[in-house]
Every structure is written in structure tokens, then in C-alpha cells.
């Protein structure tokens, strides 16, 4: 099993959700996060004052998928979240040791 963590632009939320749904991925956790990568923050000027905008709003998707589906899910995510511009975000993939469904104790792929 793999855990996929994807940081994407806020306005891509619906599109990414839809893309995952279309390939049959229903379970995911979505959070509102702030941060920056190479895009860094930038300064906005308002009323002559500079506002430091170093942490940019992003959306984070967390999902766990069977190994066999990894490539397909990453591809769907990438296609849906890409605009081709700086700040499109990143995808991280981790190995998952096990998964347990709390309700009935199912383990492994059956639990995700």
C-alpha cells in the first residue's frame, strides 16, 4: 500500500476530487494548509504598505491506495492539478505498513 500526499492549488480542489472520483477513488482526506516551496512568498502592496505573503494557501489531499493503483492515481492527480505554472504543487508517495478499519478490524488492502 502507498500513501499519497498531494499539495495543490486551492482552485484545483474540485477538479482533483472529480478526477479521483472518476477512477473510482472515493476515500480521501482534504485539508486547508499554508506553506511555500520554491515558489516562495511574495510581497503585495496595498495602500502604500507592503504585506508579506510568505505562506500561500494550498489544499492537501491524503489518500492510501493499493500498490497496483499507484501510477494510475498519481497520473490522474498530476493531470488534474497541473496548470504549468509555478506553484502547482507537489505529490509525495510513502510506503504504508498496514491499514486497519476501526469498525470491524479489516486489515490491509481491504481496509482502504
Amino acid at each position: 500500500m502507498k500513501k499519497i500526499e498531494a499539495i495543490v492549488q486551492p482552485f484545483k480542489l474540485e477538479e482533483v476530487k472529480e478526477a479521483l472520483k472518476n477512477i473510482g477513488i472515493d476515500g480521501m482526506t482534504i485539508s486547508e494548509v499554508r506553506g511555500h516551496g520554491r515558489q516562495k512568498g511574495h510581497k503585495e502592496v496595498y495602500r502604500g504598505q507592503e504585506y508579506n505573503v510568505d505562506l500561500l494557501p494550498k489544499v492537501r489531499f491524503d489518500l492510501v491506495v493499493p500498490d497496483t493503483r499507484l501510477d494510475e492515481v498519481v497520473e490522474a492527480l498530476t493531470n488534474a492539478a497541473r496548470t504549468g505554472k509555478i506553484g502547482d504543487g507537489k505529490i509525495f508517495v510513502y510506503d504504508v505498513a498496514d491499514a486497519i478499519r476501526i469498525r470491524n478490524g479489516d486489515r490491509g488492502d481491504a481496509a482502504v
Binding site: 482552485f11 486547508e32 494548509v33 502592496v45 505573503v53 494557501p57 505554472k85
Partner: protein
Amino acid sequence: MLAARTALVDSIVRERWSAMPDGAAIAAVGGYGRAELFPHSDIDLLILVPGAGGGKRDDRAQQAIKEPLSLLLRDLWDKGLRISQSVHTPQECNQIDNSNAELSVSLLDRRFLAGDETLFRRVHDPRPELGKDIARLTKERHAEFQHTIYHLEPNVKDTPGGLRDMQVLRWLAKLGAGDEQAPPDTAVLFEVRCFLHYLAGRDDNRFTFDRQDEIAKLIGAASPEELMRRYYRAVRNISRLANRRIDRFEAKGSSLLAQFRDKISRLSNSDFSVVRGEILFRSANAVENDPGIVMRLFEFVAMHGLPLAGDTLDRLERASGRFKEWAKNQSGLLAPIRRAMLLPHAAAALRMLHACQALEGIFPELRDMEALVIRDFYHRYTVDEHTLVAITNALSLRQKKGDTFADLAIETQDFDLLPIALLFHDVGKGTPDEPHVPVSVRIARPALFRAGISERAWDIVEFLIAAHLELSSAMSGRDLSDPEVIRSVAEKVGTVERLRLLTLLTWADISAVNPGALTPWRRQLLWKLYMLVNAELTRELTARIGSPEMAGSPELRAFLEGLPPRYLRIHSAEEMRQHLRLDAEAKEKGVAVSLVRSEVWNLNVVASDKPGLFAMIAAAISSFGLNILRAEAFSNARGRVIDTFAFADEQRTLDLNPDEVQQLVRTVIRAVRGEITMTQLLERRPRVKPDARLLADARVTYNNGASPSSTLIELLTQDRPGLLCDIASVISNSGANIEVVLVDTEAKKAIDVFYVTRAGVKLADGEAEELVGALTKVAVPV
């Protein structure tokens, strides 16, 4: 049914108790004591053992009872009864301190079951001070639910107005803190809670959407929404009574507070007296004889923020029919509402108006959203409550300091229209099967025109309602780094003034969805969007319309060339044609002036541009003692300046002296032609005492980055007569040229924006700083 269940449990407990040794007693307390046992409620038992004097327990007696008692309790458990017991001596029961307030409260409902009755009689009713604890616990509980009954998925026991509040009413009555009033009809609450217990198989009182569907079917309600309206009505009555009773109990409390309240009773006037901090009508049939008193009461509350006495509420409720009848034939009710929206306690006043159903008397259209349930993932409240929370949040912005959105609220013109737009923004949700935004606009229009809204104000309100989802949908669904996205939002919004109002409306709307909806993340997105669109609109002000590809005569197109897009957005076709006529006249005479009276006086001047022109016209208007409300100045590609001024004639000089109208026009023409000097004009200016200070100091800033061709100077200060003229003179005297002016001085504060150049280019930073310094001196409130 509850009583039958209680009787059954009574007989079981009594039967088992017969095996107990003498010298102890057993009593029912809590809900069981009240003989209201819901299917899965705990069975609260109090076991009384004798004391040994000195507050100690009688150890021997206790030992004797210990073994048989645990047998008895185990036995009851095994029978499937959820027992919750406590063992006390009568002395312990009669002590009150904070740590056992809940025990004392449960004793209020004690009921003897079996055993030594003399022991039971030694337990006294708690002292009335217990009411303070009840009030405190109740307020804490209400706070957990944001003090509102209108939760979409309420807890029928603990949500304000729920069964717990019903008990609070009875407890306070027992403690002598309430008059014995007929209790409100609560049958629906009892019924719902029984079903909730049955369906869940445990003591679960959450009235979720699923349960609403199931129970509506079970009790034969027409629809879940219908059941919920019944629920909210019952709960509203309980909640109102309980809050009133608790406030009264607290009012008895501190003597310091009482002194303060006696002091503020000087607020009393010919309509109202203030007694112990509560508002009472002076005359018994005040509302029947003069329904307009409700509007004065509304403004009185908005000004002073005091609660109504129970008696006042009763009278308002009884006379609500009479008020509605009266309100139907009134045409100017929006004016007092708008005035009140700028007072410190506007939100409390609006809630008061809603609570006594006078708001619905003025706008019967609002009944469409009363206790209206719209189910979705994130809304927490019914539509009417969401609306009131949004208004409360919007109004509270002006009390905050050091918050970016609060600063925006201070800078916003027509702030009083924001709550009006919010009041109607979701009213269309009451009409099924249609998208709610256009319906809201359709409903608001006749309602607000009936209440006397002006065309100018309606334009703003209509825009706000129609666009109330624009910013939130752009925030969540569009790429804000794409300039095209920002341009299209700017296009829809039109002007910076509207952008400010719409941003605040969006802020208030999101924050009223549920207490956690406005996350720092969303705030940041909204602020970013505001800054980007603001920058776009600001830049656009010095952008020029190229050769406009629009309909209209060649003359009109030539006239429009070079004007900023804002000019097109804020003027109607009729106004443009009028300006064009003035332009033709100015071609011959050098200057053309029109002066018309609508809501306020409007002066339009078209002239060839020259240094100091704007300042001269402002001085000419001030010299007549007239107060400039709004002013704008633009120039087109042919070097013609179009200056528009709206001003108020507070002394009614023009109204009462028709000759003065022509005199003003002549003075403006002479000022433009240079036939009269600035000094002469200023000498004529009457000295008027400025209003009380609202803003502590002036804020003057310059910005060289906002526009490609001009330096932007922004100024926010307390308005005073002649302010605009003084500011314009300072700019002109510094040798700078005013390219564009946007001035608004409503609500006693001046928000002025000047785009200036010197010799056709931006000011150097040093020059701009010097000018800001000079402007700060004249702008500081006196």
C-alpha cells in the same frame, strides 16, 4: 407515557427496597423525580442515610446498609434499569457550595419513594442563591451552542430552548425567581425525544437530519421541514422565557451593577423609561396608540444597547398585529433602520426587532426564510439565523481594531447598506426550484422601494445581493494568479467602493455559516483576492478608454475617448448625454455648468483643464456653506475636464432662496474663469462648527506603484465643512496637478483619493512625502 414508565419503575424500586433494613430512605431525583422518564434516560436515585451530628455520617448505620444496598442496586441493574445513584445525609444535601451545585439542583425535583420518611423531610429546598448557579450553568451551556436555537441539527435537550431550559424555568420558579406563567407548549419536544431514544436505543438527544426524516414520518408531519418549523416555534418560546428569567435573576445580583443601572436611568425620555437597566414604555398602550414608537424603540436600543423589560416584550408581542397593520401603510421605514445601522448597538436592535416580529411586520417578505432549513454539508443554522449572524458579524467589524477587514469597514462608504443587503441576500432560498440569487433580488426590490430606498442606494444593494457569491466562487474555483481572472472579477465589481462592500459582505456571509467556517486560510484567500482586484481597479482609473467600440454617436465616442473605464461604469447613458451637451456648450464658452436637485444637489462642470480648477470649484461650493458629499473629476483625451459634485444643503439655503441657485452657478463659472480668487471665496465661507470627532486622527498615504502614470494619494479623516477645498488647495499650491479625484464624505468621514502628477509625470518620492506631510496638517481633525 412518561408518567406510566415512571410509575412502573417506582413500583419496582419500592418492591426491592422492602428488603432493606430500617433507618434509610430512597428518593427519586432529576428527570425521574419529575416523573419524566424518557425511554433511555438515567434513573437518578438519592439514598439518604442518617447523620451523626457535626456533619459526620453515622458509620454504624452506614455499615448496616452498605451490603444490602449494593445488592439492591445490582438487582436493579440486572433488570435493565440504568441506575445513577448517590448516597448522602440530609445535612450534606442542605449544604450549598459551587462544587455540588448540580446535586442541589437535582434536589429541586426530589420525590420520596420508600424508607424513613422523616429522614426525607429533613432535606430542605435549596436556598434561592442556587439560582445564580443555575443561571451561570445555563449561560455556559448556551455558549457551547453559540447562544442560538436555530441549529440545523439541534440537541433537543441541551441546545438553547431545549428541554433543559424548560427545567431551568421550573427550577427558577421553585426558587421564587419567576412568576408562575403557563408553560409554553412543549409537546413536540417530548415527542421527539422519546422517538430519538427509541430509534437510537440509548440516551441520544441529537436531532440529526436522518432522525428528522424518520421522526417526521413516524409522527405524521407533512415533511421534515414542517416538523422542524414546529420544533423551532416551541423552542423559541421556551428560550425567550428562560433568557428573560435568567437575566432578571442576574439583575438582582450585584449592587455595584445596580448602582450603574440607576445611573444610566437618566437616559429615559418622553417615550421610554429605563428602570434597573431595562427599557419600559412610559404609557400603557404606547404601541396601540402610536405604533411608530417601535421604530423609536429600535433606535433607542441601537444607541444604548439596553435590554427590554419583560413587560415591554409582552406589550410588543400583544401589539404586533397593530404594528403590522400600521407598517403596511408606511413608506419611510428604511430611513430609521439605516440610521440605526451606524449606531453602536445596531445588531442588538435588529435582533430585538426580529424577536418581537416587527422586522417581519416591516418586510413580510422575510417570512419566507423563517426557521427555514436548507440542508447541506456546512451550514449550521437556519436561513433567518444565518442572516442575523451575518449582520451581527458585519457590524461587529467596526468595533475591532488592527484587523485588515476591520480597517476596510472603516474605509467603506455606505456601510449602512451592508446589513440591508445581508438581510435580503438569502431570502430567495425560501422559493424552491429556482437559483436563490436572482430570486433574492426580485424579492428585495419591491420590499425596499416600499420602505423608501433611494435609486442610488438600491443600485448598491442590488449589486451586493446579485454578486454575493462572486468573490467566494472566485476564491475557491479560479486561479487568482491569472490576470484574466482578476480582470473579469474587476469588470463585474466595477468600482473600488463596491469591491469594499462586497468583500465585507463575503467575509460576513462565510463567517456566519458556522463558527469555524472563516478559517485563517479562507481569510487569506479573500484578502488576496481583494488586494488583487483593488489593484486592478486602481490601475484602471488612470487607464484610458481607447477608441471606444461602443454604440453611440461619433460625438459621444470622441467625448469618451481618454476617460477611465470607471466613467462608463458609474454614469448612465442619460448622464453621459447630458455631459455631452455641456461639452458642446463648454466648447463655445470655455465652461458649462448644470445644477439639479434630486435626492441631493448635483453639480456638473465641464471645462478645459487648467491648474487648480478642482480646488476652485470646491471652494465656490463651500463658500455657500454647502457640504460636499461626493465628488469626482476626470479628463478626456481632448483636455476637457468633467467634474461632478454631489452636495447636501443642510442649512436649506438653496431650497429657501431660489435666487441663490443661479448665484451659485454664476459663482462657479466665475471661479473657473478666474474672475474671482480663492481668497475671496474662502472669506465668504461661513464658519460651521464641526461634528463631534469620530476618528482619532487622519491617515494620509501615497502610493507610486498603483498607477503607471500618476501618484496616488489616499486620505481618510473626519469630515468637516470646507475640508475638500482645503485639501485640493494644498495639492494645487504644491504645483501638482490633480488628474483624477474620487471623494466620498458620507457618515461624517472623508475618504478621498487623488491621482496627481507634476509636469505630466509621477511625483518623486521626496515630493510625495512632502505633500503627504502638508496634507496631514490640514486633514487632522480639529
